[in-house]
């Protein structure tokens, strides 16, 4: 029973998959000798060689395009995009081809491809290094969108994503890379598409994913000190979305708050709110509200604390729905 960080858990998942399945490849910018800017691929090139773990030229559309070709040949490429803000050059390949290929080929040519993207903010990074693009991908039919919030889940979800026959956008909350957890790798059995109730609570339900799950748990702690018990649900994957689990939780509390870092407008929180309204309308005591980043570009490092949902903002939202 050892302790490890999320970065180590992801590294371990890649390592075990590379050793078990020789069709698995890892490619991207600086993922070889350097081991990736977050060291998630550390040591993999040494162990598996430059043919299976290799650096590419600096071109994301090319990375996604050749990954698609590799997948068509029969490999399982795991492409790393160095940071969230650098996935956009590959948007055309992802939306126009990767997401649609199984569909247009009437099932004969699915693209088993994992796109790993360190995402979101709160690490004091420079511009373009703190984006939350999940809604762009969730809105794109044919993609699965997976977001772990803990080291153990990171291992399980990445393993499952690599096994998945379809393309998976795998978003790694970079502010959680160094978060530690102890437990057994692969002990988890919860598949992609199942949300996890992390905390029960009768007053209201907090729904989130990625780094904000931790914020929600901290908030729940703080609320508990004031005698308010709020539940916390970790979505784990946005597509497929486990709305049943979320709706069951909210049906009991009658109050829900969705929390994410991405801007509010047309963010994924809107989808969760809309689906909850459709499913548990009559159980709702208050509108489902959202605590999110503002509708501005992600701000500079010195201002990100204003932008990100804080425990206080979430507590404020809880007061609001309870007072409703």
């Amino acid at each position: 029973m050892s302790e490890f960080t999320m970065a180590q858990a992801l590294n371990e998942a890649l390592r075990s998959k590379l050793s078990k399945d020789d069709r698995v490849l890892v490619l991207g910018e600086d993922i070889g000798k350097l081991g990736g800017v977050f060291r998630v691929t550390d040591g993999l090139q040494d162990q598996f060689g430059e043919e299976r773990v290799f650096d590419t030229p600096l071109a994301e559309s090319g990375i996604l395009g050749v990954s698609m070709g590799l997948a068509m040949y029969g490999y399982k490429p795991i492409a790393e995009i160095q940071f969230d803000g650098f996935v956009y050059p590959s948007f055309n390949q992802i939306v126009s081809h990767v997401a649609k290929h199984r569909y247009r080929s009437r099932g004969s040519a699915g693209i088993p491809l994992v796109v790993r993207i360190p995402f979101a903010g709160a690490i004091g990074a420079a511009e373009h290094h703190s984006e939350s693009p999940e809604a762009y991908f969730a809105h794109t039919a044919g993609l699965k969108v997976v977001v772990p919030s803990t080291p153990l889940d990171a291992f399980d979800l990445l393993t499952q994503s690599i096994d998945d026959p379809d393309p998976v956008i795998f978003l790694e909350p970079k502010s959680r890379y160094w978060a530690k957890q102890s437990g057994e790798f692969g002990a988890g059995t919860l598949p992609i598409g199942k949300a996890r109730v992390l905390r029960e609570g009768d007053a209201c339900t907090l729904i989130s994913y990625g780094a904000m799950v931790t914020r929600c748990l901290e908030t729940a702690e703080a609320a508990a000190e004031d005698g308010v018990e709020v539940g916390v649900v970790d979505l784990r994957s946005l597509v497929p979305l486990d709305i049943e689990t979320v709706a069951d939780a909210v049906a009991q509390t009658g109050r829900a708050i969705v929390v994410h870092e991405a801007p509010l407008t047309a963010g994924f929180g809107a989808e969760v709110a809309a689906q909850l309204m459709e499913r548990v309308f009559l159980s709702l005591e208050a509108p489902v509200i959202r605590v999110t980043g503002y509708d501005t570009p992600y701000p500079p490092a010195k201002a990100e604390e204003y932008y990100l949902p804080t425990v206080d903002r979430i507590l404020g939202a809880i007061d609001k729905v309870l007072a409703y």
Partner: protein, 351 residues
């Protein structure tokens, strides 16, 4: 560098250069047969669109030599990544053109053939996006110790896209066995090549450190030879080649286009004199390889192919409604099951 040409527009063969071909008479005839079948299928497809049986169709009229010559140089295991104008290549790859044309009828986005089995990718409409796929597939083959070659087909306009550049660069860096086959038909819809780029296409290969060759795209033998050499080069593990086939788009960009607005009549006339089929027929006839009997048996085949296409396309049914949901993912998600149910119920309610 001078453009590779084996047959002059008036049908004279450069016999010394032609030695490199080492093709048998049956190959010479097959190339002719495939060009004629292609032209007939192409004309038939245009006609079908005019009759409302296809949603749209992009004719390849005038580009038969480029497509047939290049495709004929490939082996069965090789993999082709086409754009949207490669009906001729599809024919050479043995694809039932009815399955191919279902893309243009709007029956299904990928048509009805299996791209993996047929080793002919699905039509790629977003310009130049298929090039990196060809590179990745070739990288995979190399990694797997497989000597197959991939060929990416694209137009002159496609060379302006970032994906063209990134694909060429990846291919060079990874020594991928790719043939980049550009059909320079002089136009990108209404934009002439002069406004597309300020350098000849074959020269762009030097930016990546591999060879670029220019061939007479209306000379089926030159297109064959250049492609075979590039394929051998790739098969031997020497990496990519860029081939610029200089040809011309005799028809409109597509049946939806009004080329009269921009394409000069004189230019079309000039190129009509360079027709790839006429010159090759002239050569074959004078060389005594082609006689009337053969000619008419090929004509018969063309009629059959046209009839086959017509039969397969006219009135073909739309896809069943549940096809909409079947292949989004390998396993349908509960969410899509619900949406499917919703559609099916609503459909029934109005039957």
């Amino acid at each position: 560098m001078k453009m590779l040409r084996l047959i002059t527009p008036d049908g004279q063969l450069d016999t010394s250069a032609a030695e490199a071909l080492d093709l048998k008479d049956k190959d010479f005839i097959e190339l002719f047969r495939l060009m004629l079948l292609t032209r007939r299928a192409d004309v038939e497809s245009t006609a079908l669109q005019r009759q409302g049986e296809l949603a749209v169709y992009p004719p390849l009229l005038g580009q038969e030599a480029a497509q047939i010559g290049s495709a004929y140089a490939l082996k069965e295991e090789d993999f082709v990544f086409p754009s949207y104008r490669e009906l001729g290549v599809a024919l050479v790859r043995g694809i039932d053109l009815v399955d191919y044309l279902h893309f243009y009828r709007g029956t299904w986005h990928g048509g009805h053939y299996d791209p993996i089995k047929q080793r002919f990718g699905m039509i790629a409409v977003p310009i130049a996006t298929q090039l990196p796929h060809a590179v990745g597939y070739a990288m995979g083959a190399k990694l797997d110790g497989n000597s197959l070659v991939t060929v990416a087909y694209f137009g002159d306009g496609a060379t302006s896209q970032g994906d063209f550049h990134e694909a060429c660069n990846f291919a060079a860096v990874f020594g991928a066995g790719v043939v980049f086959f550009c059909e320079n038909n002089q136009w990108a819809i209404s934009v002439p090549f002069a406004k597309q780029s300020s350098a000849p296409i074959y020269k762009k290969a030097s930016a990546y450190g591999f060879e670029g060759v220019q061939v007479d795209g209306n000379d089926v033998l030159a297109c064959y030879l250049a492609t075979r050499r590039a394929a051998e080069h790739a098969r031997a593990g020497n990496g990519p080649t860029l081939i610029e086939a200089v040809t011309y788009r005799m028809g409109p960009h597509s049946t939806a286009d009004d080329a009269g607005r921009y394409q000069p009549k004189e230019e079309i006339e000039k190129w009509r004199a360079l027709d790839p089929i006429d010159r090759y027929r002239k050569y074959l006839t004078e060389a005594g390889i082609l006689d009337d009997a053969l000619n008419s048996s090929i004509e018969e085949e063309c009629d059959e192919l046209a009839a086959h296409i017509r039969k397969g396309i006219v009135g073909a049914p739309p896809p069943p409604q549940d096809d909409l949901f079947r292949w989004v993912f390998a396993d349908m998600t509960p969410h899509l099951e619900r949406q499917k149910k919703e559609l099916m119920e609503e459909a029934e309610s109005h039957e």
